[in-house]
Symmetry: C2
């Protein structure tokens, strides 16, 4: 096998298991019985779901009950993983995109032997226990959970990212006889995920990339909250998936036909050049009084119905959370089988490292999530003093890093010519057989990703790449800042999951000009400055852009947005890259200053220009503070913060930023900001239109100081100038 091509791996179950299961099933069928082998397992799981929801009268029972047979097929037969070594690097990844069905996953984590998922923990589902590990949607912090899901559709894109991560690692490190990375990604979805745009974007891209190591298992119960799916969706989903380049397999009886599901899963694992979509017909809330109805989705069934279900299944209605010995035995071999996989892989990596010393060392570093300690040396120490767009600065700073360090997977939502994230000699991440009309040859070892005009999927896929294993990848996305509003749900999920993804957002100011108000961000920074565990950084020139990238790369466990200008901005001799890490720092000090001017990002130089004009034309002395990042500033000691702002010494501060000022009130007494949408005019004209010119800005500062003296303005009341 040629390097760079991922050989299809065999399943966790011994070869031929699907055939054996099939024979057993045919025999039972001939005798007119259900397949006895799985019967008690399915009953147990379904009743466990009913009990877990019933105990506190809440939760989502319908989905997990319908998916029980799919769960058995996946966890017992198809997936390769190690319950006692949850972090096993080459494990199959499982994503529950319909995260509200989390009980399915929790129950299988319990049954297959994940140590933290005790029966006691299972019972914490929807309880008031703050130490529970069974939240209402799966959370990445807990053993056996690959990504946090809940907002629908995200998981599909995450799964695409996980599969891309595998492809890239396999193409980079596998050598004939040494498939050190060969895992498969499995993604469960419900009817809703297929309606969400982010999933549709990711599905289209996955088909294009021919990710044959990805399987979507569609829990097709034709029910959503509002009723039957045909209220809102009557498309031919299989035909749609085929049109998107997917291999499609139907399973008619997804409630009981474990054997049929296993056969489909095995077939998908051996798909040669397409991702697989397995359309499994199930019944929501099977066996309950609400079977097949929307009402089974999001509420406990009630005591009587659960008791009735138990009686009908031969269980004692007065006993709860019953898992019999034969069920325990059924799953009992999985931890050991998992440990065997881990041991085999470790031997393989050992042999690989001996045979390919440098590559082996590099691979081990990737597994440990380490990048070379000298990475900062790749960043330029000096920049031209000519005006430079900070999007260009971003390229100057980051391109050398992207070129040298394989952890960086860099993509763009169709804005390569604008965002400057493509380094000289970059290779595209594409299926090896691809030859594009515009002359690009594909290879999975490429690390530059053309996401297409799919901002939301780009960021959600990047979360998936980052989630592959801590630090193995640092994905970078790029687009216009305004379009990160399309991607904001994924940016949020990254912040929530502590996934380090760096978003290179350009055109972040009205100065981007003539594309007009739809493209000019005015209020968007308010979202990202508020979002927990996200660094939103607006550097003011190349030097600060270097600082922004340094901060973002060092911020393990935290995503960043580096927000840069389309237009050329002056290079300032006063800026310091180290200042960025503290969030704000003094650019121009003056102990006799009457006013502090706060400048930011693309408009930072304006603050310096205004200070100069005030001194020369109005004899007013001003200090200037550069303030690229609120969150980093908030982390500083109070003495540092007061030293920067000096408001407690009675010096008022005015922020200059053509964004909505909400939140600046914490740091400033007045703002020359914008509280309306932008306007379509070229750069200089639009700044003029909104009064962002030195003379106009200076006169507003004078007006403010006058108003303060005359009592028109009161300290403590923020003034919009």
């Amino acid at each position: 096998m040629a390097p760079g091509r991922l050989e299809t791996a065999t399943g966790c179950c011994p070869p031929g298991v699907a055939a054996e299961l099939s024979t057993r099933k045919s025999k039972a069928k001939a005798e007119g019985k259900p397949s006895p082998h799985h019967d008690i397992v399915l009953r147990t799981i379904r009743l466990l779901v009913a009990d877990l929801c019933q105990q506190f009268g809440g939760g989502h029972p319908g989905g997990p009950i319908g998916m029980a047979a799919i769960g058995v097929a996946l966890w017992k037969y198809a997936m390769r993983y190690a319950p006692h070594t949850p972090g096993y690097f080459n494990r199959d990844r499982f994503v529950l995109s319909n995260g509200h069905a989390c009980l399915l996953q929790y129950i299988f984590l319990h049954l297959t032997g994940y140590r933290s998922m005790t029966l006691d923990q299972l019972k914490s589902y929807h309880s008031e226990r703050p130490d529970g590990i069974c939240p209402g949607h799966p959370e990445i912090e807990h053993e056996g959970i690959e990504v946090t899901t809940g907002p629908l559709g995200q998981g599909v894109a995450n799964a695409v990212g996980l599969a891309m991560a595998t492809k890239n690692l396999a193409a980079t490190y596998n050598r004939p006889g040494f498939d050190v990375v060969s895992n498969h990604t499995w993604c469960m979805i419900g009817d809703a995920c297929l309606q969400e745009g982010v999933a549709l974007e990711a599905i289209s891209l996955a088909g294009h990339l021919r990710l044959n190591n990805l399987t979507i298992v569609y829990d097709n119960n034709q029910i959503t909250c509002d009723g039957s799916v045909d209220l809102t969706n009557t498309e031919d989903v299989n035909a749609k998936m085929r049109a998107c380049g997917w291999h499609v397999i139907d399973v008619e009886d997804g409630c009981y036909d474990v054997e049929g599901i296993v056969a489909a899963l095995e077939e998908s694992r051996s798909s040669r050049s397409k991702p697989t979509f397995i359309n499994v017909r199930t019944v929501i809330g099977l066996g309950s009084a609400l079977s097949g109805r929307a009402e089974a989705h999001g509420a406990a069934f009630g005591k009587d119905d659960v008791a009735k279900m138990k009686r009908e299944n031969g269980f004692n209605p007065d006993e709860h959370f019953v898992v019999g010995d034969e069920v325990r035995e059924f799953f009992g071999d999985l931890p050991m089988r998992g440990e065997e996989l881990v041991a085999e892989w470790e031997v393989l990596v050992e042999r690989f490292s001996r045979k390919f010393a440098d590559l082996g060392q590099e691979f081990r570093d990737r597994v440990r999530g380490e990048i070379r300690s000298s990475w900062k040396e790749l960043i330029p120490t000096n920049f031209s003093n000519q005006p430079t767009a900070s999007r260009a600065s971003s390229g100057l700073v980051f391109n050398p890093l992207a070129k040298e360090i394989k952890s960086f997977m860099v993509g763009t939502a169709d804005l390569s010519p604008s965002v400057n994230m493509a380094w000289p000699g970059k290779e595209d991440f594409q299926h090896p057989d691809l030859r594009t009309t515009c002359g690009i040859d594909g290879r999975y070892s490429g690390r530059y990703i053309h996401y297409g005009v799919r901002e939301h999927a780009m960021c959600a896929i990047s979360n998936g790449i980052a989630a592959f294993s801590p630090g193995t990848f640092v994905p970078v996305t790029s687009s216009f800042f305004m379009f990160y509003l399309y991607a904001a749900p994924a940016v949020r999920m990254g912040a929530l999951q502590r996934l380090q993804v760096i978003h290179a957002a350009t055109h972040d100011s009205i100065g981007m000009g003539e594309d007009g108000p739809t493209h000019q961000p005015i209020e968007l920074a308010c979202l990202f400055r508020a979002m927990p565990n996200l660094l939103y950084i607006r550097p003011g020139d190349s030097e600060e852009t270097a600082g922004a990238w340094e901060v973002a790369i060092e911020a393990k466990g935290t995503p960043s947005i580096i927000s840069t200008s389309r237009h050329k901005i002056p290079q300032l001799k006063e800026t310091q890259r180290e200042g960025v890490a503290r969030g704000a720092y003094v650019l121009l000090e003056d102990d006799q200053a009457e006013i502090t001017l706060i400048g930011v990002g693309a408009e930072l130089s304006m603050a310096l220009d205004v200070a100069k004009a005030l001194k020369e034309e109005n004899s007013i002395r001003a200090r200037v503070v550069s303030f690229p990042c609120w969150r980093l500033f908030e982390k500083q000691p109070v003495e540092y913060k007061r030293g920067i702002l000096r408001r407690q010494r009675g010096i008022a501060a005015i922020v200059i930023e053509p964004y909505v000022p909400n939140g600046w009130e914490r740091y400033a007494d007045a703002g020359i900001c914008l509280r309306r949408f932008g306007y379509s005019l070229p750069e200089k004209a639009v700044y003029k239109f909104f009064g962002f010119e030195t003379r106009s800005l200076a006169s507003k500062v004078v007006e403010y100081l006058d108003g303060l003296n005359k009592g028109v303005y009161i300290r403590g009341e923020f003034v919009d100038l």
Copy 2:
């Protein structure tokens, strides 16, 4: 024809024009010539695009040049509209979803005789003129523009909304022989729109709804910014559209074959039960040196290339913006034809109103955009004093209005059981032939829309419905508040376009409980409170919820989000619906108060409870302010604002809201807020977990007042308690 079914209307061009054009074309082809009829028109338009971009060295020439023949087919032959009466109610709607190609639309508005679009105005494209009507993307404020576009994919969803508006009006008002509403919606898209999730959601829904009055014309040039489309998309787009329930027509030569395009457009207008997708092969930047290349997309061609293009097309390279007489004549009949359409329609409506007096009156009110003046009387004046979830209050307030007033089109993204927006007896908006599995019969006159799990499309479609004609519809959307982050780009576009859409957002607090941090909004209000021209309102009980809906319905030209709780909240005797309109008002006054407590929405009652506890247990007197809406408060006179907050009298204010506090610094000195993501626990437990209980809150207030006295805290420095 049965009422409620829209008969397919004939085109603007006389019957048989497609056949005649076809004959003419065949003759030219037999003689080995291009169709002479359109030759000079296409040359003129293409050179005009090149000139308009070249004059200031910017813009997007490639797309409009490629689409010139499509433009001729649409504006000359297919579309029914009235250049001299741009607001003609029954006009065809045209949406340019690939809005960067706006020059196409501007040029056709000019050539077809829209009075405001003079040649002088055309030349303002990318100029520094602030009075220009040719912004970088089409803007709804200007004559002949139906919706503002730019962020890709939005226009597709807008067009779906426009087509739905037609279907609903036609089904409601048309009677045999009286098709008072019969217009068609045309939507141009590029390769990128087909990649955006919001478009894919809307396409799926449009197919389900069988909107045969909708045509998407796909400018298929296989080029996006990064290069050829096959870098990112190799799906079978026609098969995908067919799977989504669309009729598909191919046009091979979209650069010159006006006749073929007209035939396809006519065929689409007569589609019986499906929306139509016309896949037109074009060449970006045709005839320029960059023809067929990504570089033709977003930059002027350069002086030499434009000159060369002119020479090759028989134009004088030294003359610019040339529109010859024969081209003027070619389009010269359109204003008169338009006025004839207007006159015919007015006669029809006149006859209709005589024959169906009440219906006619109602229809005229809808055309004028008026709802009955007594609408407020439909809102309950009293509510139960039992604890009520404010999402339930929302239903109590709005359901009677939705039932009675046909202007309201109310939809949900698959959360009917949760959002309480379905009124008793509501009828679903569905294709009349639909019978769903769960027993729903469809009719286009229905006004309850099941959008499916497509939040983004829901809001973008609602913008389209609202844009049909001012005030004719007031669309209402509903979902969990957190999922409005998926829809935020569309909410923004509504605010930018001054479209009145009301978003009923529930589960707006950590109190929504066990669904956990993915569903608990913490920072989202920061976005919507900052978004210009949007009212974000958090009412604190049923009475305030009544006030919120009153404000939202009165806010013509402004969208609103009414943000309500999942869980039951106390009903307060102090609240006043009129108070909501002022943004904030005093709930509990005390002239000797030491502190002002600001309460909001689902947690409003906590502020009152804390005030009571402080008085009883700490002898601290507190005032309480209810603060449901920042933007409404900002509109009040300064005296009112100071009277509410009293901070200038030295009384500090503390806000209690489990959201990120950014922006509250304008109104408060300290906040008991959240600066981290939420947590999966049931309602009471999650409030306890984060300290939102009376005793804990009160002790923080005491701590703050102590800290203030001791100088630990300094007034003017916002404190996170």
